[in-house]
């Protein structure tokens, strides 16, 4: 055996040593695996500490180790730590193998003997595997300094501004005619009660005017190709039917347009817009769009009122959808959320009773720019409610709908309670399961509501109906609820009900995730690289997430995450080039028979066929290293670096070494 292997077993405090007999493992490895080339086996309290790393480095220098195996935590945690330690003293980092003794052994097993035997087996697998490791050099690819931000809500706006202010170019793609997202629909923001538009619109204007931002509204990403550093993104710019270079945004067109359409998006069905419209007066960009589905001209070929009255001749009915390809190095996804559809809970009467509002509908109702000019009145358009019930956790924390807490609804409901109380003097009832106000100034806001004598009833609302049992209930909406603090059923008649609907992932979140090659949780929120230490990056290099697309969160958290994603992207851009894992497949031309089986199997079209030589070749920049072609090649001509046949087969042999030594262990089962 020509290799000199060093094996290091980490105690990880008691995390590993508490279950696995680490001394026994290191003794066994030193003795039994000496024939494999193990020249030194040690155990140490914390291998990842600088002292632990120095231990390895010293052995590499003094004993001339050519391979290193560390039995510690998951390679997803500390693989790079130990690889770097090897690199520092001149050993190629890919000659170091990390064996997961913690996540896959000590933490998941309680039988000490069985866990110790398993530790021996998996270390033995690692030793057998590392023999076949090759010296690899990371692939260097240049980073395109441009960035794509998908979604123009507050998280996307913040991210775009941060990057653009740093001097790099940003493409901001937004599906709707204007940026602003949900925040533009809100009236006030909790807990400070700042006017939402007052703090948002200056940022929107900044985005609109920024020389480093290319704003693509009324546009959608339809295809993503490439990899970190050089993505080719295809964006479909939907036909606006407006020449944006001549339009001044004067608004005459939508004044003159005779066609009224219910605005289901921005006004959530509470008000009308025209067929040519901007969603709201402060929209950025200021240019309107023509809604071709509802435009009279597109329906029956007549009208063109907007074209007649436009003072600059900016209407163009012949525009077509246009696909543009954007080249970027990094992507931030900030696609936001959908509101839970309260109609899914029929007993709450949403859509059946006029005066049952969802949270977003109430935002529009209380908004000074909304359909009632900010007057909180009933559907009849004049009556001021005398009593209002606010139902928390609608569709959240409910096994029938979404099990998670939507995190913003408590504070949102308290805000609603305050606004109703302030503007109408009505009696307000909050129906809650638990009040959750974990944020700066949030609990204080709750206390303020208590002082305002808002009624809090702890209980999940069973039903909202208009069936009166007693004269006092006539003409009211009756909220049936079990008040769990007094253990009694109550019927509370109110004039208006606000359902504080939860947040859920976008209905197309899964398709979007697939397009960008990132993964979704069971509820279709995008999965971050690490739930605590990296809630911004994804498993896919070069793609970051921000805002509610990652999970329900409030405005400050969305802004913070948007800015954090921007910082990460700027860090990447500054590096100018990035090292990619050299885990790639390569074809041995001599062995390749030119059967082309691998050509079709590659999902990234990374395999080229040379007609002249009758052989295939892999483009390492396109290859992602999945290894499917390696397994498929009938001639065995393809080798997968880092996961070669020799490595895996040898690892299997190593894992089964104990079995072949007939060293059966005595685990007695659970």
């Amino acid at each position: 055996m020509t290799e000199k292997i060093g094996v290091y077993i980490c105690h990880c405090g008691t995390n590993i040593a508490g279950v696995v007999d680490v001394q026994d493992v290191s003794r066994w490895v030193g003795k039994e695996l000496a024939s494999e080339g193990v020249v030194i086996a040690r155990d140490y309290k914390f291998m990842c500490s600088s002292l632990g790393q120095e231990l390895i480095q010293k052995d590499i220098q003094e004993l001339g180790l050519t391979r290193v195996v560390v039995g510690a935590c998951s390679p997803h945690l500390h693989e790079s730590t130990f690889r770097n330690a090897c690199k520092e003293v001149g050993l190629n980092p890919y000659l170091c193998e990390l064996v997961s003794l913690r996540e896959q052994d000590s933490w998941v097993h309680s039988d000490k003997n069985a866990a110790t035997d398993k530790a021996k087996a998996i270390i033995s697998g690692g030793v057998s595997r590392v023999i076949y490791h090759e010296e690899l050099e990371p692939l260097k690819v240049p980073i395109n300094p441009n960035t794509l931000v998908v979604g123009g809500g507050i998280a996307g706006i913040q991210a775009a501004l941060e990057i653009a202010d740093a001097g790099y170019h940003v493409y901001l793609v937004e599906r709707e005619p204007s940026i602003g997202g949900h925040m533009a629909q809100f009236d006030k923001t909790f807990p400070t009660l700042d006017c939402s538009a007052c703090i948002l619109t200056p940022k929107m204007v900044q985005v609109g005017n920024h020389p480093n931002i290319t704003l693509l509204t009324w546009s959608e990403v339809v295809n993503v190709e490439g990899y970190v550093g050089s993505f080719d993104v295809t964006v479909n710019k939907k036909a606006r039917f407006i020449k944006t270079d001549t339009c001044t945004g004067c608004g005459i067109c939508w004044e003159k347009c005779p066609k009224k359409v219910v605005d289901e998006v921005f006004e959530v069905g509470m008000a009308n817009r025209k067929a040519i419209y901007t969603p709201f007066p402060q929209a950025v960009p200021k240019y309107p769009v023509i809604d071709a589905e509802n435009c009279t001209y597109f329906i029956n070929g007549k009208c063109k009122a907007c074209e007649k009255f436009c003072p600059t001749g900016a209407i163009d009915f012949n525009q077509k959808d246009e696909e543009v390809i954007i080249k970027v190095g990094n992507i931030i996804i900030a696609t936001g959320y959908d509101l839970f559809d309260a109609k899914r809970i029929p007993q709450y009467g949403c859509g059946r009773y006029d005066n049952v509002y969802t949270s977003l509908e109430f935002e529009r109702l209380s908004n000074a720019a909304g359909p009632t000019g900010g007057n909180i009145i009933l559907k009849d358009g004049k009556t001021i409610p005398k009593s209002v019930g606010i139902v928390h956790c609608v569709g959240s924390r409910d096994q029938n709908y979404n099990e998670y807490c939507s995190s913003i609804c408590c504070m949102q409901s308290l805000k609603f309670a305050h606004l109703v109380h302030e503007r109408t003097g009505a009696e307000v009832y909050n129906f809650y399961i638990d009040i959750r106000t974990p944020g700066k100034g949030y609990e204080e806001f709750y206390n303020r509501l208590l002082e305002e004598r808002t009624n809090f009833v702890r209980g999940k609302v069973a039903e909202i109906s208009s069936f009166a049992r007693i004269p006092e209930e006539e003409g009211k909406l009756i909220i049936q609820v079990e008040d769990t603090l007094i253990s009694k059923q109550r019927r509370i008649p109110v004039d208006m009900v606000i359902l504080s609907s939860g947040l859920q992932s976008r209905s197309d979140a899964k398709e979007v995730a697939k397009m960008f090659g990132i993964s979704c949780s069971a509820e279709n929120w995008y999965i971050e690289r690490h739930p605590k230490l990296d809630p911004i990056a994804t498993m896919t290099e070069g793609i970051y997430i921000a805002g509610c697309a990652q999970g329900p969160k409030d405005i400050p958290a969305s802004v913070a995450q948007g800015a954090a994603a921007a910082a990460r992207v700027m860090g990447k851009i500054q590096q100018k080039e990035i090292s990619l894992e050299p885990i790639r497949a390569t074809i041995n031309e001599e062995q390749c028979s030119g059967c082309r089986i691998c050509n079709d199997i590659c999902p990234f079209n990374a395999i080229l066929y040379h007609e002249d030589k009758m052989t295939s070749e892999i483009n390492p920049a396109l290859c992602q290293g999945c290894g499917t072609c390696v397994a498929a090649c009938p001639a065995g001509a393809i080798s997968g670096t880092g996961f070669s046949n020799e490595q895996v087969l040898s690892q299997i042999e190593g894992l089964l070494l104990l079995k072949s030594l007939e060293n059966e262990y005595s685990y007695s089962g659970d």
Partner: protein
């Protein structure tokens, strides 16, 4: 051969992006499963060469577990479907060689499904324990003609 003290050895092939991370998650959450399983990390379940399975069984493994991303969620777009095909094919061959089909198992587990992975591993170890050791190394072992057809796989 008695099954009383039989401790099966199972080799599991996991995908770097989902099932290996599910195992990490099971560890972080201190979920417990039987220590009979040894996992091998591949970049993708599509990397699984049937040779690996034969090598492991010939080397003394009593069961083989394969786990990748859920259909449609593959990190490499669709390579888990290739794993599925190879799984079916290998299973057919192994049955022809006289192995009980239950010894080869495939399930999908996302990075979030540590609990699912744990329960599937435990179930599998139980099945293999009841089947007893794979007697491939015994002298009287002969390739047999299959007497039953392969069951349809129910996939999550």
């Amino acid at each position: 051969m008695t099954n009383d003290n039989f401790e099966p050895v199972i080799i599991g092939f996991t995908c770097n992006w989902c099932s290996y991370r599910a195992a990490d998650m099971a560890g972080t959450a201190r979920m417990k499963y039987a220590p009979n399983i040894r996992l091998i990390r591949l970049m993708c379940s599509g990397r699984l060469d049937p040779t690996f399975i034969f090598k492991a069984l010939a080397g003394g493994a009593d069961g083989i577990l394969i786990s990748g991303c859920h259909p449609g969620d593959c990190h490499y777009i669709e390579q888990n479907y290739k794993a599925l095909r190879r799984f079916q094919l290998t299973k057919r061959v192994l049955i022809q060689m006289g192995m009980e089909p239950e010894r080869l198992k495939l399930f999908w587990a996302s990075a979030a499904e540590g609990a699912f992975l744990t329960s599937e591993i435990n179930k599998f170890v139980k099945v293999i324990r009841e089947l007893g050791p794979l007697n491939w190394n015994e002298n009287n072992f002969r390739v047999q003609i299959p007497i039953h057809s392969i069951e349809e796989e129910v996939l999550a």
